[in-house]
Subunit: 143 residues, 4 copies
């Protein structure tokens, strides 16, 4: 996946990410990947995530998630978060997400399917044309 | 799954569970299900979750997660959280988790595979005999 | 404060409330007290917290907080959360909050000043008459 | 305080920091300031925060907190987080914390008193000599 990633960010594992076992509490990975999604929109696609939600009232709820956890992350670790686009549908977007150690060892990998919705009706809507165009323009799709 | 659930708990969706879209921020479902897991251990299996972690130094990290989200939950909603056991392996445990509205409508469903580990080595270990016996004694397995 | 509390709730300290030191991560106390505030509104005052926020678009941001932490709470502890009203102003509300062990030992105590705001302008507004009346009707003020 | 700050970091307000009112959920400020504390230790003092907690088993619980919130922060805002040292005691450390907008407008300010404890006994212990020396060497104290 590494070569197809459209975004790659380093992040320090924080005290507040970890549980009494001293390792990342797994729901916190999804918080980290949501930050990555925001950065991809705001920096990569140049579609401000906050105005998408707050002004345009378009939501991006997750409808499907498949995750494999293969190694732990500890407080203080610097991890690498990667995002690739697997599929761009009419109303949905499939992302491949990965967390690696700095040595390239995979810690966890996820496939996430998101849909665009109206935040007024919470019904699925087509991906807005500007978002679609920005994704198509900047993404090399994972085969 | 309803009839096979070994634990069923109502929970109010809190302000702090929700995001700027006014609905549950999806990682928060996993926090809720972790509470359900704790309750199942402490109340259902009579194996105190805190002493498992802190005294016996046995962890229960997630190794696989598959989730389908089918309807949103809003702040103030009372949801029903259900836990069933799909499989009890030598070192792993497969759970079926579900969140429903009070009308029985499915909001999300997950399959979660957990392994027992030593919190000193973070390597997988056999499920401790008392935990295994408690699960076997109290669980009707989902076919 | 015990005798003046308008709400008293037991709560189990969760795995997800705790940090790598095995004790409650202190911001999590404020999440717990926010749950208590929601319960006070919804159950004690019979003013649904979710409709206050989502439908009436009235916010309750905190403007001042003073907190003393005197003893730790560990995962699995059952704590008692208490809420009393110290002062009901025109646009603000001063709460006395406390977390105790089941033995009555104080773990932490806070004074929190909240104001009512319009969520459209984020400016302070008068406490709505129904909320004021419900507080006045049900509260014995701490001298 | 600006000129006395020993650490100054920009941070984007994330979707996951915000509540259904669309603004930072106030406990999340303390999560942000804990990140700042970690960075100050690891980068400013060159005392790795993770080894302090996990290897040396020294905790830094908060014993006193005073906070004033003066303006809201919204998702997508870039805020500036500042940390200054007000007092270095034998077993305690008093920090002045501030969150500002990029225009320098104060959003919130806090005074936080932390103590060093043994994570085995949870009793206060003297600030370790290397930590004390690093603070003394790098800090211009706020009068």
């Amino acid at each position: 996946m590494g070569e197809d990633a459209v975004l790659r960010r380093e992040r320090v594992i924080r005290f507040s990410d970890c549980d009494p076992a001293g390792i990342v509490f797994y729901p916190q990975y999804f918080v980290m990947f949501n930050e990555l999604l925001e950065d991809w929109f705001s920096d990569g696609l140049e579609v401000a995530f906050n105005s998408l939600i707050l002004e345009r009232r378009i939501g991006l709820p997750t409808v499907r998630l498949e995750v494999d956890f293969s190694a732990i992350s500890r407080m203080g670790d610097v991890v690498v978060l990667l995002l690739a686009v697997e599929r761009l549908g009419r109303r949905s977007l499939t992302l491949a997400l990965r967390c690696e150690g700095q040595d390239g060892q995979r810690r966890m990998a996820a496939r996430q399917v998101l849909v665009t919705t109206s935040l007024d009706t919470h019904q699925a809507i087509d991906i807005p044309p500007d978002v679609r165009a920005a994704i198509a323009r900047t993404t090399e799709f994972t085969p």
